[in-house]
């Protein structure tokens, strides 16, 4: 009995120290649904790290998402969180922010959700310089529904609905955000965890529309169909082909199949945010 008691004590002492992010996660919702090798965990971790660094009061932070793998982030964060309909996170977040401007409202979304079905909302929120931070985890494919073509899928890449290779042009999200009027635009991959966390911190503290694109592996679907079979292989690709160019012209930052990935902070403007403009 004594031995058992001591063992229990040891176990408790091991279990006690919490991961610094634990308090930001709904423990009763874990484990999450994401696949092994997926970049969403890293993206979420960097977001929570940025949240700590930003010193924002978590009680005054709301996370809004749409539908898809990335949309599930809202279900795991221990903050006010809203899992809305497909593509509609931004207008929901807009209403939330305007009804209570004291909130920091963050949209956590995927590329299909944000830019295909939600594309119109994205460009208009950027145009307004709406006071939102929008995070887009771009894995170039629809993950939740099983690997279909996305508006970000590079030309020639294979998906379940482009089995012979995509014969369509993709969106360059950073360029789209910049051209639409975003005050802050950065792109990193899930390999660049510290830079990503720094960019997310800046984005959280930036008035107006801040946009961070996170290039993220989807080994289960995008990788398997495009000769990058593991998350590790995709990370290796990011390591080999990423080029850091702060201030790069987003027009020059297209992402081609097996091409280079220009990353960095592309836009950081001082322009009146939507709420600042309302003051007249």
């Amino acid at each position: 009995m004594e031995t058992n008691g001591r063992l229990t004590a040891v176990n408790e002492s091991v279990a006690e120290p919490q991961h610094p992010m634990d308090r930001f996660l709904r423990q009763d919702r874990l484990p999450h649904i994401w696949c092994s090798g997926c970049g969403l965990g890293t993206a979420l971790n960097c977001f929570l790290g940025a949240l700590i660094k930003s010193k924002l009061d978590p009680d005054k932070v709301a996370v809004v998402s749409g539908i898809g793998c990335s949309g599930r982030v809202a279900g795991y964060v221990n903050m006010d969180s809203f899992h809305t309909t497909h593509g509609r996170a931004i207008p929901f977040a807009t209403g939330l922010k305007l009804a209570n401007p004291a909130l920091k409202v963050v949209v956590f979304s995927g590329d299909g959700d944000l830019i295909a079905i939600g594309g119109n909302h994205f460009i208009h929120a950027a145009r307004r310089n709406m006071d939102l931070t929008v995070i887009c985890v771009n894995n170039f494919i629809y993950g939740m529904t099983g690997g279909q073509l996305a508006p970000t899928t590079p030309t020639a890449a294979r998906t379940s609905t482009s089995p012979a290779g995509n014969r369509d042009h993709p969106f360059n999200l950073a360029y789209l955000a910049a051209a639409s009027g975003a005050a802050y635009v950065a792109r990193w991959t899930t390999l660049h965890v510290r830079r990503l966390e720094r960019a997310l911190t800046e984005a959280l503290l930036k008035p107006g529309f801040s946009f961070v694109e996170i290039i993220s592996p989807c080994p289960t679907l995008y990788g398997r169909l495009n000769k990058q079979k593991s998350g590790l292989e995709q990370m290796q690709y990011y390591k080999d082909r990423s080029v850091i160019q702060h201030g790069a012209d987003p027009r020059q930052a297209d992402i081609a199949l097996n091409g280079q990935i220009v990353v960095g902070k592309f836009v950081d403007l001082d322009k009146p945010s939507y709420l600042e403009l309302q003051k007249g």
Binding site: D28, D80, F82, H83, P91, G95, L96, N100, A102, H124
Partner: protein, 380 residues
Amino acid sequence: MNGDEACAEAALSAGSRFFAGYPITPATEIAERMAERMPDVGGTYIQMEDELASMNAVLGAAWGGAKAMTATSGPGFSLMMENLGLGLITETPCVVVDVQRGGPSTGLPTLVGQGDMMQARWGSHGPYEIIALCPTSPQEMFDLTIEAFNLSEKYRTPVLLMADESVGHMAERVVIPPVESLELYPRRKPTVPPDQYRPFEGDDAGVPAMACAGEGYHLHVTGLTHDERGYPVTTDPAVQERLVHRLIEKIRANRADIIRVESRWLDDAEVIVVAYGISARVALLPIEMARAQGIQVGWLKLVTVWPFPEDLIRQLARRVQAFVVPEINYGQIALEVERCAAGRARTILVPHAGGDIHDPRVVLEAIRQAVEGQGDGVTG
């Protein structure tokens, strides 16, 4: 003022401080009035990129603590169906105004229709109950907008104000009572600490208290089927049953509190004209003409169209020969009347494709036929 303007004024009187919309005839005057008036009261008016966005912004604003409204007409109402469903499953109080015009599709932008009544009931996918009110005058645009906000807060659900172009654009005297004299139903907030609060657990009436973002409750709100905590449960039909059953019952079990009708001459009626919106008002003239000719005809105006006053129609069907239903569509509410009459009384539709109100003589003729035992059925 016109009905649209009265609607906007009522929203402000009800304490609404958020309006999101998109221009569309014949509802645009509501947005214009809101754009002009919201700054006076420290509220937010925002013109969104489309009606999908407007509906979502309204839901977001409600969770941000505001009483929120949007207004549209048929084409925009169609776009709102997606997120009306989100509002229903997340139990988000808000008011959606549809100033109906002729349809389908772009139809008759500047002319009247009442063709969205079944869309109001069933337009979003899945099983649900909805509350919808139909004003017949600018004054009722005011009064029923107040009531729509009250019902939305009381039952924590979106409420539809199903107006029509005639009522929206009609200008009449509108009495706006002092705000202090209005009975306004406040949002019911949780009284327990965050760790005990269940945002989707109904009270005795089946309605949960509502915390909003930023109040420390760490809400999770999802359009997925969810448990009482708001957590998604998508593989258990029992949770689906529990949620959907409560969402439906919180309306059905409270029908007596929700449903309002107005009536005249029912006591001696052999035939009853059942109508709503502008058609209820139009029906008064042919009824008076018929009564002057000695025809015993009554008038039943549906203030609440959804939930449908089933019991009342069932009771009346036992003692009248027929119902006459003039509506500016080809048979929507008439189908409900026919269903509830269940063969005990005939149901005679007086259809109108839209673009104008009924000619009173056509309604009078339908009343005459009804008394003479002619005419039956909604679909001919």
